[in-house]
């Protein structure tokens, strides 16, 4: 009981720190922090399908685009209340999850990644060309924001607090899922799907569920994206961004929730930090990624965990020696 109280207190401290950092930053840093918020939600979603279940999903921006445009169209063209539109995102995510989940049962590895790429590109082309609905390349503007009864964000930056609330909820839910029976089943499917099936796990149901989780998170992320930017344009949903999300997952730590947050933070913030290197920062970043893929493929968080557990063992053995 005491441990959870301490942990809770610790997390509240962390949140307070984040809010403080936000308050004392300039508008530019604040915009990056906002971007980081929906990136985290997206990576958490991607983690279910690529990190835990091991199916490479390169269609994240396709799902994001669907969520963002659906939310935008519902709140503007159809005039729905933003909160109702947000709940509709669950339905959107669910539908997309089913749509991608069933083909994924028959496709493995490379084929699945191709299909997800195809899905993402088709979505992008549709969005670009169905102008009366989506505004095409001119973009879609004036998306409405969410407002809680006691708080309405006055500026674009201040939407951060609402986004932060989303991230907290998303993280807690993701943590509960990863550490539950479902999380372990997902990992079993990744490590050896035949053995998992032999142990009685229904692979089909699991894969579809993983895709649905990823899609729901992506759709919610889309609502966050749309609400923050209030302007949507197809150019923000190209394949390159899908690769970015995969990079965030791979660098941070496959299959772990803290890993997702770390990875998202690093990939979002690093380009800004490395600006000093001018033209070479992207090459440096990608080189580091390749080196990590070869040497530390599981990502940073598992590495950190390993270091900590070695330290703990060392301290334990020391204690017993002294005693």
């Amino acid at each position: 009981m005491k441990k959870t109280v301490v942990a809770l207190f610790g997390w509240i401290l962390v949140l307070a720190l984040v809010v403080l950092i936000f308050r004392f930053s300039n508008v530019y840093v604040q915009s990056i922090m906002n971007m980081l918020m929906y990136n985290i939600v997206l990576v958490l979603g991607l983690n279910f399908i690529t990190g835990l279940t091991g199916q490479m999903n390169l269609g994240t921006v396709g799902m994001l685009a669907l969520g963002a445009y659906a939310y935008g169209i519902l709140t503007v063209t159809a005039g729905w209340n933003p909160w109702v539109a947000l709940f509709a995102m669950f339905a959107v995510g669910f539908a997309v999850g089913r749509l991608l989940g069933y083909p994924s049962l028959r496709l493995k590895g490379f084929y699945l990644s191709l299909t997800t790429i195809g899905f993402s590109e088709i979505i992008r082309l549709l969005i670009t060309n169905i102008e009366p609905l989506t505004g095409g390349t001119m973009g879609f503007s004036k998306v409405r924001r969410l407002s809680v009864w006691f708080y309405e964000s006055q500026t674009k930056s201040d939407y951060f607090y609402i986004l932060l609330a989303f991230v907290v909820i998303a993280t807690v839910v993701a943590n509960r899922i990863v550490n539950s029976k479902w999380g372990r089943s997902f990992k079993a499917v990744r490590d050896n799907s035949e053995a998992a099936e032999a142990s009685g796990i229904d692979i089909s149901k699991l894969k579809v569920m993983a895709f649905t989780l990823a899609a729901v998170y992506a759709a919610i992320g889309g609502a966050m994206y749309a609400g923050y930017n209030t302007y949507l344009n197809p150019s923000g949903f190209t394949l390159e961004y899908s690769q970015n999300y995969v990079a965030m997952l791979m660098i941070g730590g496959i299959g772990t929730v803290p890993g997702c947050i770390i990875g998202a933070t690093i990939v979002t913030i690093l380009p800004e930090l490395l600006r000093g290197f001018a033209d070479y920062y992207w090459i440096m970043f990608c080189t580091v990624c390749i080196v990590m893929a070869i040497l530390v493929p599981d990502g940073l968080w598992p590495l950190i965990e390993k270091v900590f557990s070695r330290l703990r063992d060392f301290i334990q053995s020391h204690k017993s020696k002294v005693a």
């Binding site: 690529t50 091991g54 490479m56 083909p103 028959r106 496709l107 590895g109 490379f110 084929y111 990644s113 191709l114 299909t115 790429i117 195809g118 899905f119 590109e121 088709i122 082309l125 670009t128 060309n129 990744r190 690769q243 995969v246 990079a247 791979m250 496959i254 033209d279 070479y280 992207w282 090459i283 990608c286 080189t287 990624c289 390749i290 893929a293 070869i294 493929p297």
Partner: protein
């Protein structure tokens, strides 16, 4: 309704573009068969080849075309061996295929960035290279199309001859079937893989050279061709070379004829839609390749 549309033009363009997709499919099939890895970086290989040819050898050094082509081929070969040793060989031994895919994606970004830094972000063209065209009847046949088809056929036949007759070629086939058995037979698997990647890189370089008159040289020139090349390989039968040809030409033709049916903006969708259809209905592709 169709009376004044030149069907031959569609067929010609379709076959030419189709062969480009086929070459891309052949190139990544080579690497897949040898290493089990999918080369997500092939787009950047093609771009690199084009830039080497157009940017360095022709524009900067002012060399005649044939010499530039030869030098590009040699450079891409060396480049392929480098990439294979430093990146692909370590990646293929990793536990999950997702790690390797990620590695090749990052490699692609690096190469594209290098190209952008080395040759500048402004697209350029190679003047006078395969710009002429032949006209018969009312059909325009740019000479680049003729070269594409001719070179592609040469490459396809050449590869088959290489695999069937030379020792290195047969070794590569053995490695693709069963690495351990090949090693037991005394084949140096690593060297074989390096050679495969080198040939694949040379192919990409040739694709880049052939694509120069079509697309002009820029960092994004190969983006759609690379993706459609993936689709071509899958449609034709993943892992089989005849399949790559069939798939590529099919996509090329379908794309062109698709513009008759729906707005040109959706042309790029054709390749993906057909591929997804095949994946759901007939995953082993047209040629019924064994690996599906």
């Amino acid at each position: 309704m169709f009376s004044n549309i030149n069907l031959m033009q569609f067929v010609v363009t379709g076959i030419a573009m189709g062969f480009i997709y086929s070459l891309v499919a052949t190139e990544y099939t080579l690497i897949y068969n040898a290493t089990g890895l999918v080369n997500f970086a092939h787009e950047s290989f093609i771009v690199l080849g084009a830039y080497l040819f157009g940017g360095t050898f022709v524009r900067a050094f002012g060399l005649p075309f044939w010499l530039a082509i030869v030098l590009t081929i040699v450079s891409m070969g060396i480049f392929g061996i480098l990439v294979s040793t430093v990146v692909l060989n370590p990646l293929r031994n990793l536990q999950f295929i997702t790690y390797a895919m990620f590695g090749t994606m990052m490699l692609s970004r690096i190469l594209t960035e290098v190209a952008r830094l080395a040759w500048g972000p402004i697209p350029f063209a190679v003047p006078g290279f395969l710009r002429s065209s032949v006209k018969f009847g009312s059909t325009f046949m740019p000479s680049s199309y003729i070269y594409i088809i001719a070179v592609s056929l040469l490459i396809v036949i050449g590869l088959q001859v290489f695999f069937k007759t030379t020792k290195m070629g047969k070794a590569m086939i053995c490695v693709s079937q069963n690495k351990d058995a090949a090693a037991l037979m005394g084949i140096n698997v690593t060297r074989s893989i390096n050679l495969t990647v080198a040939i694949s890189a040379i192919l990409c370089g040739i694709i880049g050279i052939l694509a120069t008159p079509l697309f002009n040289i820029s960092t994004g020139m190969a983006a759609s061709a690379a993706l459609k090349g993936f689709c071509a390989g899958v449609i034709g039968g993943f892992g089989s070379y005849p399949g790559a040809i069939v798939g590529g030409i099919l996509i090329g033709l379908l794309e062109q004829f698709g513009t008759l049916l729906f707005p040109t903006a959706y042309k790029d969708v054709v390749a993906f839609a057909v591929m997804i259809l095949f994946l759901l209905v007939r995953p082993s592709g047209i040629i019924r390749a064994k690996k599906a």
